[in-house]
């Protein structure tokens, strides 16, 4: 039985649509005078952050509190974490305290998987981003944002993203957001194209259920949504690209490029944005850019995930996909 959310690749289409539909109802709570539900009263959720991410932690915390869970924040950043024992020891400490769920953020790919599968802890594990592996709730909130904008809030209920053309641009190699989105968007029926300099695309990408292009300009007119990934300036020192200027000239989104997109198409960014690098201020501040909306949607999605994993006596998202199904994509 799947009690955890570790990878977007573990979700079936029906699971994903159920989460999006539930999030749509959760979003309505935000419009009420009392933005709180009693659903997780008496349940303890720990936000276990081994890597700094105020945005993600706040989003989870807001979701947990709106569902009346007891929230414990545990931030263990810095060098003490480089030693592996701390994850196991911390997990066992939390277990002894009787926590029901652990939301974990870790710089090591696979740390949430280990936490969920090593017998260190009984609690449900929700991956809030691990290394360059996965960030499933980010992919879910991105899909939720796309469904609202491209299909409609009410019209979207029960629907997936069949036929939508999504372009993801930037540092795919180091991006858990890209990996999660490729998996989830494919499951939801969208056609995904990755655009990046060849140095920032992983070896082995040819087995991913998506297209890869090195040319942004020819991809933009065929996109319903364009997701810009953050590109860290340090990458240039490791020779992934020559200069910031060359990167933004070839792969950055400015007003002129945005004009090549279809009228209805939206611009997305998981944040935090590096303005002037992958996106210009003009695009970031335009009404086609959904960055702020994505933040709000993040709370609704995380409420939905928490409710579906913890709300009952067993998780509603329980269809662990077999490896065969995963590979058939």
């Amino acid at each position: 039985m799947q009690r955890h959310l570790i990878s977007a690749a573990d979700l079936t289409r029906d699971d994903a649509v159920l989460i999006l539909d539930t999030a749509e109802e959760m979003a309505r709570v935000a419009d009420r005078p009392i933005k709180k539900l009693p659903t997780l009263r008496g349940r303890t959720v720990v936000n276990l952050f081994f890597e700094d991410s105020t945005r993600t932690r706040i989003s989870f915390e807001a979701a947990e509190k709106r569902l009346s869970a007891d929230v414990i924040n545990f931030t263990a950043k810095g060098s003490s974490v480089s030693k592996g024992e701390s994850l196991k020891d911390t997990a066992q400490t939390l277990e002894a305290m009787g926590v029901d769920a652990v939301v974990i953020r870790h710089s090591a790919s696979g740390a949430p998987y280990r936490l969920a599968n090593s017998g260190w802890i009984d609690a449900a594990v929700i991956n809030a981003g691990d290394g360059t592996h996965q960030h499933p709730t980010q992919a879910l909130l991105d899909a939720f944002t796309m469904r609202r904008r491209l299909v409609g809030r009410d019209a979207g209920i029960g629907q997936d993203l069949s036929g939508k053309r999504i372009t993801i641009v930037g540092d795919v190699l180091h991006s858990r957001v890209a990996r999660s989105n490729v998996d989830l968007l494919h499951t939801l029926g969208a056609e995904v194209t990755l655009v990046a300099p060849p140095t920032l695309v992983p070896v082995g990408v040819e087995h991913w259920p998506c297209e890869v292009s090195y040319d942004l300009d020819s991809t933009l007119p065929k996109s319903d949504a364009v997701m810009m990934l953050r590109v860290q300036r340090e990458r240039m020192n490791a020779a992934f690209f020559p200069t910031e200027r060359e990167y933004s000239r070839r792969y950055g989104l400015d007003g002129e490029r945005m004009a090549k997109m279809p009228e209805h198409a939206i611009v997305m960014h998981p944040g935090p944005m590096v303005r002037g690098m992958e996106i210009t201020a003009e695009v970031a501040d335009s009404d086609r850019c959904t960055v702020v909306e994505q933040v709000g949607n993040g709370v609704s999605i995380r409420m939905a995930v928490l409710y579906l994993l913890l709300g009952g006596n067993e998780p509603a998202v329980s269809h662990a996909r077999t490896n065969e199904e995963k590979q058939d994509r």
Binding site: T39, G311, G312, N313, A316
Partner: protein
């Protein structure tokens, strides 16, 4: 369907249900003195259809637009931990809200009273009504909480070994209330 057609017998048929709803509509107008501040909130799934039907009848009687909405109580249930999480239904509060108004909750069957308790909790998070009343199509008894209905379509004495199944055209293709034996496990 958990009730076999063969061993379930109808206790209310289509015309009965229509007649009962008409009576409840008149009672609401009478007790709420014209019903000018009434808001109908149906509890999903079938309570919502009943609330909508009541609204139509109230509009015919009062010749005014009747605010009607839905109130999903899933997240407020006290038995959440005993089942897998359910998919949520829509909560739709009419535009003017419920503050200072008379909210009439509408449900199909009144049984333990736990659903209504959850509905009262849910209402509490949405606003502060002047008063809350309850209208149900069938009251089958066996209350587990101090809750009673203000408007009852039919009092139906039942055994705990029986099930009551309300079917409505909007959801089930026909209007009927069936009383049957609980399927043996």
């Amino acid at each position: 369907m958990d009730t076999q057609a063969s061993d379930a017998r109808p206790v209310l048929e289509g015309p009965d249900i229509a007649r009962v709803l008409t009576r409840i509509a008149h009672e609401i107008v009478e007790r709420a003195k014209g019903a000018d501040d009434v808001v109908l909130l149906g509890i999903p799934t079938r309570g919502v259809f009943l609330a909508q039907r009541l609204a139509v009848k109230l509009e015919q009687i009062t010749d005014r637009k009747m605010p009607v909405g839905s109130l999903d109580i899933t997240m407020y249930r006290d038995d959440l931990r005993m089942h897998p999480p359910r998919a949520l239904a829509r909560t739709e509060i009419p535009g003017d809200g419920i503050d200072g108004r008379l909210v009439v909750l509408v449900d199909d069957v009144l049984f333990s009273g736990r659903t209504i308790r959850a509905a009262l909790d849910a209402l509490n998070d949405i606003g502060r009504p002047r008063a809350v009343q309850l209208a149900v199509l069938v009251d089958r008894g066996h209350r587990e909480l101090p809750i009673r209905a203000d408007y009852v379509g039919k009092n139906l004495p039942t055994s705990l070994r029986e099930t009551v199944k309300v079917q409505l055209a909007e959801e089930d293709g026909r209007d009927t209330v069936l009383l049957g034996a609980k399927p043996t496990q």
